[in-house]
């Protein structure tokens, strides 16, 4: 691999890497015919992001012919190459990315002002290609917004907030903080914003649903979208199936796929009827009964689930996970790195650990998420913990 990025594109590349660092600890570098793909997935596999830079993005783009090359590396070390984001535009004239297969080094050379040359030789590991399976075009709800709109919306939520819930009707979108059923409700504060459809560039709703997903990754994408000024498209279906956020222009394409909180079928019914009535009641009742009933529903949604209450003999690996998210993450990562497909099969016929939150649906090579989800919402590889491990 031998590519050269010049001028303002260096900053775009750097911003993309920084927003990928919000997702996971590793950067998957995959030079392809159709461009350079940079991907990352979080340890619990509930969030995935990919940037594809078309060959035209580069002033030179050569990839190894004959065999496909994939590697992964610590994202921190790549971030270090582009550490001073603010001055990057002013100082860096050219960035040269070159692969030395003999030495197993990926070399980033920054040609800076005043002839300063910064060379970073980074070690990498071979890896399989990282691919998420998702079909954003089949999603029922599609929105396109300028980054500013979402930035201004997200700004109202505290940095410590992990998840937001997005509900939609034909005319409006509500964004509110998600309150964990385990959290102390007396201390919980609810923040909700209502966006009218005319604030969006495109607003198409087919199913009145609410989805809950992690905010951290969304913030990561927003940083990128804001600096490039690209509009953000958002696609989602129903609770439990992923929400896809994407930015596109002629030379790059970025997609963030985030798991949403899954619903029990009983709750789902409850939820969708609720959603069909004009969703959010006035704020004061909201605190009193709506959230309560919602939370109760969430609560009971765990109990009646046969697989959750079922025999406490899930495969050893999974059973140890539920109470120890850290260990669990570790396991998933180790286990699933190179064998997503295998794991997928294994996971789908194993029982899921009881207190799961997000379904990680994207690595399913088995069935398209939509059909699978509507009939058997609990299949698919389960996420073992929310991806908050590096929230500090």
């Amino acid at each position: 691999m031998d590519c050269v990025v010049t001028g303002g594109n260096v900053k775009v590349l750097a911003k993309a890497i920084h927003s990928l660092s919000r997702i996971g600890d590793e950067l998957y570098v995959e030079p392809q015919e159709d461009g350079l793909a940079l991907r990352s997935v979080n340890s619990s596999r509930s969030a995935y992001a990919c940037f594809l830079f078309a060959p035209l993005f580069f002033s030179r783009y050569h990839i190894p012919s004959g065999h496909a090359f994939h590697c992964k590396m610590a994202i921190k070390s790549v971030q270090a190459v582009f550490r001073s984001l603010a001055s990057l535009e002013k100082t860096v004239e050219k960035c040269h990315i070159k692969l030395d297969e003999q030495k197993n080094r990926l070399t980033f050379t920054l040609h800076c002002k005043h002839g300063l040359l910064k060379t970073h030789n980074l070690s990498f590991q071979d890896s399989e290609s990282l691919q998420a399976v998702f079909d954003k075009d089949s999603c029922a709800n599609i929105f396109i917004a300028q980054p500013r709109l979402l930035v201004d919306t997200v700004m109202h939520f505290p940095p410590s907030l992990e998840e937001v819930t997005v509900s939609v009707s034909d005319e409006r979108m509500w964004v509110r903080n998600h309150i964990d059923e385990e959290g102390e409700q007396s201390k919980a504060m609810l923040t909700e914003l209502c966006l009218a459809s005319d604030e969006f560039d495109h607003f198409a709703v087919q199913s009145h649903n609410s989805v809950t997903f992690c905010l951290k990754e969304l913030r990561g994408l927003l940083v990128f979208a804001e600096s490039t000024g690209l509009p953000i498209s958002m696609y989602f279906d129903e609770p439990g199936s992923p929400v896809v956020l994407s930015v596109t222009d002629s030379v790059l394409d970025g997609s963030f796929v985030l798991a949403t909180l899954s619903d029990d079928p009983s709750l789902h019914k409850n939820n969708s009827t609720r959603a069909r009535t004009p969703p959010p009641p006035p704020p004061d009742d909201f605190m009193n009964d709506d959230i309560d009933s919602y939370l109760i529903a969430m609560d009971t949604s765990i109990a009646p689930n046969p697989s959750a209450t079922g025999p406490p003999t899930p495969p050893l690996a999974n059973s140890t996970c539920s109470k120890q998210p850290v260990a669990a993450n570790h396991r998933t990562r180790l286990h699933s790195e190179e064998e997503e497909e295998e794991e997928e099969d294994e996971a789908s016929d194993s029982d899921r650990p009881p207190n799961k939150k997000f379904c990680s649906l994207f690595f399913g090579s088995v069935l398209p998420p939509t059909s699978q989800m509507s009939t058997q919402p609990m299949t698919g590889q389960e996420v073992l913990a929310s991806d908050s491990e590096d929230d500090t």
């Binding site: 070390s77 001073s84 005043h114 300063l116 910064k118 970073h120 030789n121 980074l122």
Partner: protein
């Protein structure tokens, strides 16, 4: 207390009296060498030299020439004492170290001699604070025997270009390797960290390079932890001179311009991180 009359009357007894209209001119430059508590002060009629050392491998000197002071009276050829630098800096900033233009702390620093405390009179907006800092037995600073006639390689760079490199240095690397050479790569900073290595190359004809005088290719490693404090001096400075001698000892000289546009110098000496080659 009638401070002014008292200090006037006492002036005779002091071996050293130094006054500054703006105490920041002293505190700023002292910050550039603050990495250990103990600072050795040596005053001569030429000015004040403050020395801080670490592990017998690193020495930093700040020079404040007599001209920087509005008053600099010394009754001996050499007056030496040692004080706790952190305490001294706290005293110099006792009014908060405001950076608002037009507001400055005036300083009068007096020392009676061996066994006496260092007395600081600080005044801002008509309020006077008197600080007395106990002095300690002055230690003998290490002589690094860095002789300018033995300098093998020397470059002078605008600090701006090094600041960026130092702020980005991979701190997982234990050492910073400096290569100076009359041919490629001329002047190179390298780190060897967890995730790989990194090199920063400065060509000799860069407009950041004010002087390039390298006679021989030299590659030396210096402990990152030792060099890290010098970043403070770099941040204040406008130019830096990097020199190595035949033993691989490193001298970093920083030219610092103070609030009033006057020039002071800060100097760091550092031992290389390997057995000293035969001299």
């Amino acid at each position: 207390m009638p401070l002014s009359t008292q200090s006037q009357a006492d002036d005779e007894q002091y071996v050293l009296v130094a006054s500054l209209d703006n105490a920041r001119n002293l505190s700023n430059i002292l910050k550039a060498i603050t990495f250990k508590d103990h600072a050795i002060f040596s005053a001569t009629p030429n000015g004040l030299k403050v020395t801080v050392e670490d592990s017998k491998c690193l020495q930093a000197n700040a020079f404040i020439q007599a001209e920087i002071f509005q008053e600099f009276t010394i009754r001996d050829d050499l007056v030496g004492f040692q004080v706790n630098l952190t305490v001294l800096l706290d005293c110099l900033n006792i009014f908060g170290g405001s950076t608002v233009p037009g507001v400055s702390t005036a300083l009068r620093m007096c020392y009676k001699g061996y066994g006496y405390p260092l007395t600081l009179f600080l005044e801002e907006g008509g309020v006077v604070t008197v600080c007395k800092i106990n002095t300690q037995e002055p230690e003998e600073p290490i002589d690094f025997e860095f002789c300018s006639t033995d300098v093998t390689n020397k470059v002078i760079l605008l600090s701006e270009s090094l600041k960026e490199a130092f702020s980005e240095l991979d701190m997982t690397s234990e050492v910073l390797q400096i290569t100076m050479s009359p041919s490629q790569p001329y002047f190179r900073l390298s780190t060897f960290g967890n995730s790989g290595n990194a090199h920063y190359d400065y060509p000799k004809d860069s407009d950041m390079m004010e002087l390039f005088k390298c006679t021989k290719t030299q590659t030396n490693r210096y402990k990152m932890s030792l060099l890290k404090p010098s970043t403070k001096a770099l941040a204040l400075s406008c130019k830096v001179s990097v020199r190595t001698d035949s033993r691989g000892f490193l001298s970093l000289q920083y030219l610092v311009r103070n609030d009033d546009g006057q020039i002071c110098f800060v100097e760091y000496y550092c031992c290389p991180d390997q057995e000293v080659e035969e001299e």
